[in-house]
């Protein structure tokens, strides 16, 4: 599991946490905080997707549907029923998880990866079309606005505000989600769940012959993965406060997220974080290029697949693998 997690994964999460704790004390303007918040949300999204795509090894291409489901579920419920977003984001995650398990069932029967890709992609299109056509509820492509921001919370004497003009509050929510999700997922994957997922990825038939119940483990992975993605979608909804079906479940989202995962490192635990950081920041720098950014992302995916298929995360281990290998050589010589 070393190549998936690197040498000290808990230490890496601690480093990320410390870096995020420092951010509020830096003299950053709201625009930078906004980009960092988007990065944190997309990093969680990409990490959730990477669970089925990279760690379980199923070529699922429709996770933007779970992002949309989580976003719309939380936004709609909080808007129409007046329930606090602090509660509805969990509802978004749960509904996304249920959707994930439901779409997991047909995928269990499909052995061919291109078919898995097509089925999941088609599922995402269905979700997008349903959201566009339920105009009475979602206002379709006109956009669903009036999503309530997170309710203010007071800690001690200070009150943290969220929503427009309160960049810090949203950053804090995204940061807590980022650290929490990565920490919990790491604990899950360092246990027998991770061992089993990787065994299924590397040799499904062999894993099954060793007693691994494929169907149960795959559905579990789908549920967890969709829940994480749904949670990131819900937090996104209460941050940007307006949703359109094509912005959350459209092809742009698909390509951006796949680019983050591939550039960062498919199947590497920390890969999607690097990818999300690089692409969120560069996407802001390239804002002037408009839709041509997608062309650039496409090119980036192609370049990485050919030149560095293990992504950014795969570049690093090469340097610390060398000392390890030379250390094991004397043992071999004896």
């Amino acid at each position: 599991m070393l190549e998936v997690f690197g040498g000290h994964p808990y230490r890496a999460i601690l480093v990320w946490t410390l870096m995020l704790l420092v951010v509020p004390f830096l003299p950053l303007d709201d625009y930078v905080l906004h980009i960092l918040t988007l990065f944190l949300i997309f990093a969680v999204f990409a990490t959730g997707w990477n669970l089925t795509l990279g760690i379980l090894g199923l070529k699922t291409l429709g996770h933007h549907a779970f992002f949309a489901i989580g976003a719309y579920a939380s936004a709609l419920v909080s808007h129409y029923f007046g329930i606090s977003p602090w509660i509805t984001i969990w509802l978004g995650a749960i509904i996304a998880a249920i959707a994930g398990i439901v779409i997991g069932f047909p995928i269990l029967r499909i052995r061919s990866m291109p078919h898995v890709a097509i089925v999941t992609l088609a599922f995402a299109e269905i979700v997008r079309l349903v959201l566009s056509n339920l105009k009475e509820i979602t206002r379709g492509e006109l956009g669903f606005w009036g999503i309530p921001p997170f309710d203010p919370i007071s800690i001690g004497g200070t009150t943290i505000q969220f929503g427009l003009g309160n960049a810090f509050g949203s950053f804090a929510v995204a940061a807590v989600m980022f650290v929490g999700v990565h920490l919990l997922l790491l604990m899950l994957l360092k246990s027998r769940s991770g061992l089993t997922f990787l065994a299924i990825r590397d040799g499904e038939a062999a894993a099954e012959s060793l007693g691994v119940k494929l169907a149960a483990w795959k559905l579990f992975a789908f549920g967890v993965s969709a829940a994480i993605v749904g949670l990131s979608g819900a937090v996104y909804a209460h941050y940007v406060l307006i949703l359109t079906p094509s912005s959350v479940a459209g092809p742009d989202m698909l390509i951006s997220l796949l680019a983050m995962i591939i550039v960062g490192g498919v199947g590497r635990f920390f890969g999607p974080i690097y990818g999300a950081l690089l692409l969120t920041v560069s996407s802001e720098l390239l804002r002037d290029f408009g839709d041509y950014r997608m062309l650039l992302y496409g090119a980036l995916i192609v370049v990485f697949v050919f030149v560095a298929p293990t992504g950014i995360a795969g570049l690093k281990p090469a340097s610390w693998r060398k000392p390890r290998e030379s250390a094991s050589q004397p043992a071999e010589a004896t």
Binding site: D202, A205, E208
Partner: protein, 244 residues
């Protein structure tokens, strides 16, 4: 009693219109080592796949310890005591050697620490302790075969199906591999069914033999007796010549 260990009853496996196995019946006794012989395409691996659950029989039944397991999944057959290795080895490449073995233990509910402790004993048994922390993908073919053996043992099998254990293994390593297999039978009382092309290996290892040709059983009996059979000699002599 002993005859009820593994019974294959009129097993037929067809892929489309092609019969890989046709009306195969055989029984394997507990504690013995049985060789499955036959030329390429005789249905040896298909028989393994049918017993381990990787392919569903078109007709017929497989009974293990008196229970009909014909429609059970490979994982539940593993839990009832059937383990196998693969002709083309399937290591979990991104996991280390010891983690490969831990998969079998963790799936039965062992904690990671327990699994690691027990896995170490199997890794040691097959002689891969020095490689325990290396990723499985860097192993040589012979080491991969031994890893498959360690993984299969970790499932605590009563019946072990070995598909081409010496295939692709360099000749000097073969005797060591065979002594491992003999120890399984002697120390752990594991019943072994082995598919193998190397006749010397089989004469050395197997008590009984089943000779398949074109998906049908031609001869069954003691290993020496089957090896001496006319049909076996005519097909297998070529192999012996090639090996020598």
């Amino acid at each position: 009693m002993a005859a009820d260990f593994l019974r294959v009853e009129q097993l037929t496996v067809a892929f489309g219109g092609i019969f890989a196995l046709k009306d195969v019946s055989l029984s394997i006794d507990e504690g013995r080592t049985t060789a499955i012989l036959g030329p390429n395409g005789a249905g040896k691996t298909t028989l393994f796949n049918a017993i381990s659950g990787a392919v569903r029989p078109t007709a017929g039944k497989i009974r293990f310890l008196g229970e009909d397991v014909s429609t059970k999944s490979p994982s539940s057959r593993c839990h009832s005591g059937i383990a196998r290795t693969f002709q083309i080895t399937q290591p979990f490449g991104s996991l280390s050697v010891i983690e490969n073995v831990m998969v079998a233990l963790a799936t039965k509910g062992a904690s990671m620490a327990e699994a690691r402790r027990e896995a170490a004993t199997y890794v040691e048994f097959v002689g891969l302790s020095a490689k325990a922390e290396d990723p499985a993908r860097v192993l040589s073919t012979g080491q991969r075969k031994r890893l498959e053996l360690a993984r299969a043992l970790a499932t605590h099998p009563r019946l072990l199906l070995l598909d081409e254990v010496t295939g692709g293994v360099d000749r000097p390593s073969i005797p060591e591999l065979l002594s491992l297999i003999r120890r399984l039978r002697e120390e752990r009382r594991i019943t072994i069914v082995v598919v193998e092309h190397n006749m010397e290996v089989l004469l050395d290892l197997a008590d009984d033999a089943v000779f398949l040709n074109r998906g049908e059983v031609v001869v069954t009996g003691g290993m020496q007796e089957v090896a001496g059979h006319e049909a076996v000699r005519s097909i297998y002599l070529g192999d012996i010549d090639a090996a020598a």
